[in-house]
């Protein structure tokens, strides 16, 4: 058990990527858009061969963009669960934690870091 004070998140965008899930802090997203060429598909984080479907959404924040299948804004307050030690380095440290919403566990990512790819380590 950790003694770290649990962080609380308000405003979260829950994203579906194939059969997997992702969550991004709402404040990290400036607009939703239609995907464009060159934008990274979030599915790549789960399977290198994954391709965005036709009806995908683009999460935009300044110059950063990430393509997901669907988006859903979750405005309730949620407790951010800490990242286990063995996953701290995953995807270049893009993982911020986990939230439980709707009976499911959602990995919360930093949009900017995730969009940069797995190799970049801050």
């Amino acid at each position: 058990m950790t003694d770290v004070q649990a962080e609380v998140i308000e405003g979260l965008v829950l994203c579906r990527v194939g059969e997997d899930r992702l969550a991004v802090r709402a404040r990290e997203i400036s607009s939703f858009d239609v995907p464009h060429a060159g934008a990274r598909y979030a599915g790549e984080g789960f399977s290198p061969q994954a391709r965005a479907p036709a009806e995908a959404r683009l999460l935009r924040h300044h110059d950063t963009a990430l393509v997901v299948d669907t988006v859903e804004v979750h405005s309730e307050r949620l407790t951010l669960l800490s990242v286990p030690a063995v996953l701290v380095r995953a995807w270049g440290g893009a993982l911020c934690g986990f939230v439980e919403a709707g009976g499911l566990l959602w990995p919360v990512i930093s949009l900017e870091r995730f969009a940069q790819g797995p190799e970049v380590v801050s």
């Binding site: 063995v86 380095r89 995953a90």
Partner: protein, 140 residues
């Protein structure tokens, strides 16, 4: 070296593993897992347990003998470095092990396995949980 506290012995595929009983906090039924982006292959996913996110580490993949078995149970191992859930085909129970406690290899995960120890069910590889979790944290 005397096995003072005993070990929790479990089967994973055809291999028997054991963890020191004092590091094995719990045996749980595995729920459906949430996959994590950028996670290594042996990390099957995470699940929330008692307000904590536990990563699930597949020993068969880690040792290079992957099985397509759907594990029902997992042994939760907790160390000061963190906690992981090790999926088990079958949990045999706590046993006092005898035999060798030497490292089984010098590379990869084998650095953190000791043995071969003997249990009633056969030869057992003892996981050095302290170093094992550290190894997992540093491994890609």
């Amino acid at each position: 070296m005397a096995d003072v506290h005993g070990h929790l012995v479990f089967a994973c595929g055809s291999s028997l593993y054991a963890v020191p009983a004092d590091t094995a906090s719990e045996v749980v039924n595995l729920p459906s897992l949430t996959r994590v982006p950028g996670a290594p292959g042996h990390l099957l996913g995470v699940f929330a347990h008692r307000g904590e996110v536990l990563p699930v580490v597949d020993l068969t993949r880690l040792t290079g003998h992957p099985l397509d078995e759907v594990f029902k149970r997992a042994v939760v191992v907790r160390t000061p470095r963190g906690a992981v859930a090790l999926p088990a085909s079958r949990v045999l129970g706590v046993a006092t092990l005898e035999g060798s406690f030497e490292r089984l290899g010098d590379t990869g995960v084998h650095q953190h396995l000791r043995g071969p120890a003997r249990a009633a069910a056969g030869e057992v590889a003892i996981i050095d949980t302290q170093t094992f979790i550290e190894f997992l944290s540093t491994a890609g």
